[in-house]
C-alpha cells in the first residue's frame, strides 16, 4: 500500500504519519485501509468488528488479488503532498468527473518532468482537487501529441461520491 502511495506523493509519506497533532496510523479492517489518529484508534477498539463500519478516513482497499486500490476518499490527504499535478480546463472538468480519461485538448497545465505512468493528482483551474490518475505520457510527449490523445488515465475522481456511493464502504 505504501508503494501505491509513494507513487503519488513520494517520500512525503512520512508527513502523513508524523503529524504535529499526534501520530496517525493506518489500520486494516475488512480489507480496507483506514487512516486515523491513535486517539480515535483507541476508542474505536471498543466497537466490535462486525459492527464497525468505518474509522477515520478510508484510503483504499485490497482487491481479491491483493492489489491495493486507492480510493477517492484519500484525496484530501494526497493533494497537499502531491509531487506531480495536472490541471484541467473547465470544459473538460465535467468529462473527467464522469470517469473519462483526460485528453490533450482538456489539459491545462502539467508539472514539468512528469515521467510516464507517474501518479498524478488532477486539479481544476481553480485549484480544487478533482481526483487522481496516471500520466499516460511524459510532459515532453504531451506537447507533441495530437489533441485527441489521452494524456492522463483516470483512476479516481470526486464524481464517484455520487456515482458509486455504495462502494465507498
Amino acid at each position: 500500500m505504501f508503494e501505491k502511495l509513494s507513487k503519488y506523493i513520494g517520500e512525503n509519506i512520512k508527513l502523513l504519519i508524523d503529524r504535529p497533532d499526534g501520530t496517525y496510523c493506518f489500520r486494516l479492517h475488512n480489507d480496507r485501509v483506514y487512516y486515523m489518529s491513535e486517539k480515535i484508534l483507541k476508542l474505536a477498539t471498543n466497537i466490535s468488528r462486525d459492527k464497525l463500519v468505518s474509522v477515520g478516513t478510508c484510503f483504499g482497499k485490497f482487491t481479491k488479488t491483493q492489489k491495493f486500490r486507492l480510493h477517492i476518499t484519500a484525496l484530501d490527504f494526497l493533494a497537499p503532498y502531491a509531487k506531480f499535478k495536472v490541471w484541467v480546463k473547465p470544459g473538460s472538468e465535467q468529462s473527467f468527473l464522469y470517469g473519462n480519461h483526460i485528453m490533450k485538448s482538456g489539459l491545462g497545465r502539467i508539472t514539468e518532468n512528469t515521467s510516464q505512468y507517474q501518479g498524478v493528482v488532477v486539479y481544476s483551474m481553480s485549484d480544487v482537487p478533482l481526483g487522481f490518475g496516471v500520466a499516460a505520457k511524459t510532459t515532453q510527449e504531451c506537447r507533441k501529441v495530437d489533441p485527441m490523445a489521452i494524456v492522463v488515465f483516470h483512476q479516481a475522481d470526486i464524481g464517484e461520491y455520487i456515482r458509486s456511493e455504495d462502494t465507498l464502504t
Partner: protein, 737 residues
Amino acid sequence: MGRKLDPSMRVKRGPGRKARKQKGAETELSKFLVDDEGPKKLSSRGRKRAVKRTQVTKKPKQEEKPKKGFSDENSEWLKPAQRKRKIEECEEDEDSDSQWEEEEDDDDVVKDLDHKGIVKDIDDDDDDDDEEMVDDYGADEGDEQDSDGEELLPIEKAARKQKKQTSMKPESDDDDDDDDEEEEKKDLKEDEEEEDTVQANIDETEQFKLPAAADRAKEGLLLMDLQTIHQRIKDNVDVLSHFSEKREEGKERSEYLSLLRSDLCTYYSYNPFLISKLMDLFSLSELIDFLEANEIHRPVTIRTNTLKTRRRDLAQALINRGVNLDPLGKWSKTGLVIYDSSVPIGATPEYLAGQYMLQGASSFLPVMALSPQEGESVLDMSAAPGGKTTYMAQLMRNTGMIVANDANAERLKSVVGNIHRLGVTNAVICNYDGRQFPKVMGGFDRVLLDAPCSGTGVISKDPAVKTNKDEADILRSAHLQKELILSAIDSVNADSSTGGYLVYSTCSIMVEENEWVVDYALKKRNVKLVPAGLDFGKEGFTRFKERRFHPSLKLSRRFYPHSHNMDGFFVAKLKKLSNTIPTAVKETENEEESTKMETAASSEQIQKPESKEQKPASTKAKSNMGKKLKLKQNKSGTPIITKKAGVKSENKKSDGPKKAKIAKLDGKTSKKVEKPVKKQKVKELNGDSTKEVVKEKKKGSQFEKKNIMKKKNLKKRMGKNKFKKLKNILGQDESGQ
C-alpha cells in the same frame, strides 16, 4: 388554431389590420348569444325566483357595495364578475334558470347598447378580468369588459345547461340546496328559490349554515367540488372563531367541528386521526396555515463546510455557476438558502469537493443547541444520512472524536460517503441499535439523539405521512424514543469537564413524541432541561390536554413550517446532573404494607414530576411517603406538578387524615386509591409498568384480585362519597383486624 374563449387571453391590440377587426371570441359570441337568450321565457320557478330576488337583492347589494360593489346606478343589475367564479365552483348549482334570468336583465341592457362599443358606465375596479381587458380594446371599447365578463357566463351557462339536461336535474337541485344553504345568509329554511340569492350573496357569508345531516350523507355519495369544500372550510372557521356572533341557532359547536374535520380530511387528504391530532395542537386559523404550508416544499438549504471553504467564497462560486442564493438568516453563519439554480445543486463540483452539504434548515438547530467543543467526544446516535454528524465535526474542527451510529446499515453508507466527502477525519462509524449504547461505549461528553419519529413535521417532503400514520404508529415511535433517550442519557458522562449535555430532537410535532418523552426522561434519570440556546421558535408545551409536564419543558423549542418556514421540529437540551441512576427509593418506608403497594407506589411515584426514581419493582412506599421522599430528592426544587388532575385530588386526600390510615393500611384501600391512578399512569408509561404491577402482586388473595379488576374500572378521580366510603371501609378493616 381555434379562438380561445378565455377572458384573460389578451386580444391583439395596437395598430394593425386585425387588431381592430377581431375582438376575440367573447365579443363575437356575445352577438349571437344575446340573440339566443332574448326570447327565453321565464319558467314558473323562474318567475318565483324573480319575485324573491326583488325582495332580497337589496340587502346583499348593500353589503356588496362596501366590499366590491359597483359604485353607480347599475350596481343593482350588474354584479361583479367574481360571481362567475362562484358559479363555476358550484357546479351543482345548476339551476340555470335563475342564471338565465339574471343574464336576461344584463342582456337586455346589453342589447340596448351598441354591441361594438358597449357603453358601460360602471367602474370595474374590482373586476379582475375586466381590468385585464381594459387595455385590450381601443378607447371606445373600453366598456366592453364587464359585458365580456358576463358574456362568458352565458356561454358557460349554455354549456352547462346542456350538460345538465343530460344529467339528472332533480339531484342537482338538491345539491344546490345544500351548498346554497351554507353560503346564504338566511333565517328561513329554504326551497330552491333561494339559489339566486346565493349568487347574489355569495360574498357574504354572514351566516354559515350547517347542512343537515341528511344532506351531508348525500354529499358523501356525490363528488364535492374542491372549491366548494375549501369555501366551506373557510366559512366554518370563520364561524367558529366568532362563535357567539355567527353561530346558527340550535347548532352545537361540535357539529361545526365535525363538519370541519371531514372537510379538512377531504380537501388536504389526511386521515381523520391525524386531523384530530392537529386540531388539538393548533388553533383553527393556525391549523389552516399549517396545512397549507405542508402542501408546498420548504426552500432548499445548504450548509457551508467550514473545514474546506468559507461561506463567502462558496456563495461566490455558486453564483458563478448560476445559482440564486441568500444567507439563511441571522441565526446561522454557515447556512445558505437556494432559490433557484440552473445546475443541479447536488452535483456541482463544489458539492463533490465537499464544500457544502444539502441539509434542511431545521437540522442545523439540534447541533447548534448541542454546540460540541473542540476535543470532546461526541456520540450521534441516529446519524444517517450524516448531515448533523458532519456539522458537529466542522464545529469541532476535526479534533476530538465523533461516534456516528445508526441502526440501519443501508443508510450508513450515506454517512460514510458524506463523512469522506466533507473531509471529516475524527469520526468512527458503527452500526448498532441505539439502545445498546451505554454497553458498547459510554462516557461521552455530549450526545445528540435525533430520534426516529413519525415524521409529522416533514409532511411537505413525504406526503404519505398524511394517510399512513395512526395511533399505534405514534405510540410505537414514542416507546422507542423513550428507550433511546434513556440509553442516550446513560451514555453521557455527567462528570465531564466541558459537557454532560444531551440534545434530543425529532422532526415531529406530536406531543407524544416530544414533550412526553422528555418528561419521561426527567422522571427516570438525574437530568434537567437547560436553555437550548436557540432564540427563536415556540416554547414547548408544559401541559397538553389531560397531561401535565414538568414546567422546565418551557425551555424546549418547537418549530413549525408555517411560522418559521422550516420543517416541523422539536429540540430539547438536557444536562446530566449525576451519573447515578436513581434507584427505588421507598425501600425504607412502610415495608409491611407492601407487597401490593409496591406496584401502586411505583407507578404513582412515576407520576410525580420531580421524581427521578426508577420505576422498578422495588418501590414499596405509599403515596404519601413516596411523595415525601421525592420531595427530598428533588434537586431542582420546582413545585410538584402532578400529571393528572386525578392524581392531584388523590394526593390532597391522602395528605390529610388519610395519611396515617394509609400508613397502617393493609393495602386494600390504598390499593384502591392508588391503583386506578396507577393504572392510568401505568398505561401512559407504555404498559411496562402494568406488567410489573401484575407480576409483582405477591399476595394472590382473591380480594386483591377483585380489587385489581375493580381498579381497572375505577375512575381516576374519586368522588367525595366514594372517599367517604373508602374511609368507612378502612375503618371497618381496621376494626375487623
